[in-house]
């Protein structure tokens, strides 16, 4: 039984981590594409149109990857988490089915039209198809976040005698206090990834002295969008989410902040340190007194319950992983604001395009927003443990009763092999698109 849950969780974690490489780019990038296309309509300068079309090519590769790795996510609810599906399908099935209906169709239908239909329909309609692709991808994010918000903070339900969750109030799924901050935070994080990708490609072109006109355009817009979204990511949305965790999942809050003992006169904020689960303390700790209490409750001496206040069964199952995920996310987010702030300063002083060290930094920064996005989701998912539906349904109660661990390990290994191949091909394709660049080929 332990094996079974472990492999089921590992397979889900692996496949969702790989899957989320793609949507986090497409959601943010679709907004930037709409922006470039809009600039083109306003200014009639051809390079904005070429930029929009270039990024739609990158979008399309990511979208394909997102589709083929996304279907396994939907299927795994049934294949590996059958008991969870049976008990909660009446509720989360609503938002998941709506995602299929209202966002995938929109996105896939109009993506094809955007790519193939520019000459057929004229510029205004072409802009509209781009906008609908954006709408579809953000609707998808919203409905997935609504699903996750219900698992984090269940609302609008009733539990029957046989353990089934029954929907009692449809609109409660969307007025869930967990949903809006989580959605905004997630979309901004997606915008950070895509802005950094845009800036990074720009830095590459400028440094290589190739497609320089586009390189500068991408750098400028990538840096501006990147800084704005990084700042909004920390405040107000990051702050808002942390307060939600403190209020609704206090045991998770203590674990992710690394508070082992309750401090009577206000909690310190931990910057660095390694959780020592044997002695129940942080090793090599650097912390600033009272800041956490202030940030969370705007009171310097507010008492925050530490992990010593909770039963072992209520605490997340992997505290060090949760703690590291949270600190990596926050640490990277802070670094992003610093680098992008600096870049914007030099952009304003008209020195950015010749500052090689900064351009190299921007170019190589590109993996880190991905890491920050994924660790952010690890905070949400590890933080919800040991529950699938917070406080109500344990993870161990959700697995498929008939699928043996041997079968799950078999499919996990298959996914690992297949996704390695996919990842490799993805890099080849994106590399090829970047190498060809946005300048239209002259036949």
């Amino acid at each position: 039984m332990e094996d079974m849950i472990f492999y089921d969780r590992l397979q889900f974690a692996f496949t969702i981590t790989f899957h989320y490489i793609f949507p986090q780019l497409t959601m943010g990038l679709s907004l930037l594409i709409v922006y470039f296309k809009w600039k083109f309509l306003r200014t009639k300068i051809e390079k904005y149109n070429n930029a929009a079309k270039f990024f739609m090519k990158i979008f399309a590769v990511n979208f394909t990857m997102g589709v083929v790795t996304g279907i396994p996510m939907e299927f795994q609810f049934g294949t590996n988490w059958a008991k969870f599906s049976e008990l909660t399908g009446g509720i989360i099935g609503q938002t998941l089915a709506m995602e299929g209906m209202f966002s995938f169709f929109l996105e896939s239908s109009f993506l094809a039209l955007f790519i193939f239909g520019e000459k057929l329909m004229g510029q205004k309609l072409h802009f509209l198809t781009g906008f609908l692709v954006f709408l579809g991808s953000w609707a998808s994010g919203y409905l997935i976040l609504a699903t996750n918000a219900w698992m984090q903070h269940p609302v609008g339900y009733e539990i029957l005698d046989n353990g089934k969750f029954v929907l009692e109030n449809f609109s409660a799924l969307f007025s869930n206090p967990w949903l809006l901050p989580a959605f905004l935070h997630n979309q901004l994080a997606s915008l950070v990834t895509s802005s950094f990708v845009v800036a990074s490609i720009g830095a590459f072109y400028v440094l290589r002295n190739k497609q320089v006109e586009y390189g500068k355009l991408f750098l400028k817009n990538g840096v501006i969008f990147g800084l704005v979204s990084s700042v909004l990511l920390a405040f107000p949305t990051g702050d808002w989410n942390a307060k939600n965790v403190a209020r609704h999942q206090p045991a998770t809050f203590a674990a992710m902040e690394g508070i082992f003992e309750t401090e009577k006169a206000g909690s310190e904020i931990v910057l660095i340190g390694q959780p020592n689960m044997v002695e129940k303390k942080l090793d090599n700790k650097i912390a600033v007194p009272n800041i956490l209490s202030f940030l969370t409750y705007q009171e310097w001496d507010k008492q925050i319950p530490g992990m010593d206040q909770f039963e072992k069964e209520e605490l997340p199952t992997n505290i060090p992983a949760l703690y590291y995920s949270y600190h990596i996310m926050v640490g990277l987010g802070t670094i992003f604001i610093g680098i992008m702030g600096l870049a914007l300063f030099f952009l304003w002083r008209k020195k950015l395009f010749t500052m090689k060290p900064l351009l190299w930094t921007i170019m190589f920064l590109v993996p880190f927003p991905y890491i920050a996005n994924i660790t952010g989701w690890y905070v949400a998912e590890l933080g919800r443990q040991p529950y699938l539906v917070y406080g109500l349904l344990k993870t161990s109660e959700g697995v498929s009763p008939t699928v043996s661990s041997g079968n799950t390990l078999f499919t996990l290994l298959g996914f690992v092999a297949l996704y390695m191949l996919l990842g490799l091909l993805f890099l080849v394709l994106v590399g090829k698109a970047i190498n060809e660049g946005p300048t239209p080929k002259t036949h």
């Binding site: 939907e74 609503q94 929109l106």
Partner: protein, 357 residues
């Protein structure tokens, strides 16, 4: 409400098999009959332009099934664990085959992805047919051994095959001689459908030859259909009862046979879309007839211990289904609109259409 959602989901899955079905069929034809590079390219393109907007019907159907019949979703997806995951892998190989073939110019690269597209399309058609065979045959619900259930009555787990390969043994697997027959029927049907699609959408040099191929495959299909009706009686003696009790259900087999008979006249069709229309009827009729034969059961039980799964004992609660029917109808209308817009803008032959660059 259960019936409403059952019908809606059946429509979505039928549309999926009609639309993505021509992609699978195109892959099968591509694998066996496309010889010249120019034909290979245009045939792959006739699927490559559309596969992703066709595959979303599967995503939508899966989501709706999850919402409306969560117990069925849980039972069937975990019970058919291995074949479902294998189908997922095959859809990935199909997709990358189509997306990657045109990315580089050298022939070896194209050959690899052509095989990936062709073989996975063939196996997908086979597996989807086998799946349909499993649904009408039923499974050992509750995993009964010697009269005792080892799981809850609505759960089961099927191995890929039982060593006897017989649908009549106590613990039939996913693949047995009955489901293989249904699988081959699916392969032949979708190959015909794919050939019709190629004729409709391309100017490939094998279009005339494909009409002869369709004619021959149709003879095979007619024989296999008769065979399946006979063996179905052996597997499930009550298989035709629904059609006798509720004679109006006969409309579904009539749709199927209209398609089957119509395709014998393939060489005389004046308009290129006619063949495609008849093979669409074939798929629609085949799926709806199979589902109608067991309705309101959606998964029969092969043992006497546990009740079969029906639309009534696996559905979500009334309130959820009612709310969902409101957004469901709005969603279907929107989907129909997108579908019409897309088909109108991408109507006609696709030979000249720019793809992937």
């Amino acid at each position: 409400m259960e019936v409403f959602w059952y019908v809606l989901i059946a429509i979505v899955f039928a549309v999926f098999f009609i639309l993505d079905g021509y992609d699978f069929g195109t892959g099968i034809i591509h694998l066996f009959f496309a010889k010249k590079e120019k034909d290979k390219e245009v045939i792959a393109k006739s699927a490559g332009l559309f596969w992703d907007s066709n595959e979303v019907w599967l995503v939508a159907g899966g989501g709706m099934l999850f919402m409306a019949f969560p117990t069925f979703y849980a039972s069937v997806f975990s019970g058919f664990y291995l074949p479902l995951i294998i189908v997922l892998w095959l859809t990935i190989f199909r997709a990358i085959g189509l997306e990657f073939r045109s990315q580089f110019k050298f022939q070896m690269w194209k050959d690899i992805w052509d095989k990936s597209f062709g073989v996975s399309s063939l196996l997908l058609a086979l597996f989807f047919g086998i799946a349909l065979g499993n649904i009408v045959r039923g499974v050992n619900l509750g995993g009964v051994e010697n009269g005792v259930s080892i799981y809850e009555g609505h759960y089961f787990f099927l191995p890929l095959w039982d060593s006897s390969f017989s649908p009549l043994c106590e613990t039939p697997g996913v693949i047995d001689w009955f489901t293989i027959i249904i699988g081959i029927i699916a392969v032949v049907t979708l190959a015909i459908h794919g050939a019709n699609w190629i004729i409709l959408k391309t100017n490939s040099s094998i279009n005339d030859k494909l009409k002869i191929i369709i004619f021959k495959l149709n003879i095979v299909l007619a024989i296999l259909t008769l065979l399946s009706l006979i063996v179905w009686q052996i597997v499930n003696p009550k298989s035709l009862h629904n059609f006798i009790d509720k004679p109006y259900l006969v409309v579904f087999p009539i749709i199927y046979f209209t398609g089957l008979i119509g395709l014998f006249f393939v060489k005389r069709f004046k308009k290129e879309g006619h063949g495609f229309l008849f093979s669409t009827l074939l798929i629609l009729g085949g799926i709806t007839s199979s589902l109608a034969s067991i309705f309101p059961i959606i998964l029969p039980s092969t043992n006497g211990v546990n009740e079969p799964l029906t639309i009534y004992n696996t559905s979500a609660a009334e309130y959820g289904l009612s709310v969902a029917s409101i957004w469901g109808v709005i969603g279907m209308i929107l989907i129909a609109i997108y579908f019409v817009i897309q088909k109108r803008l991408m109507a006609g032959k696709i030979d000249k259409m720019d793809y992937g660059h």
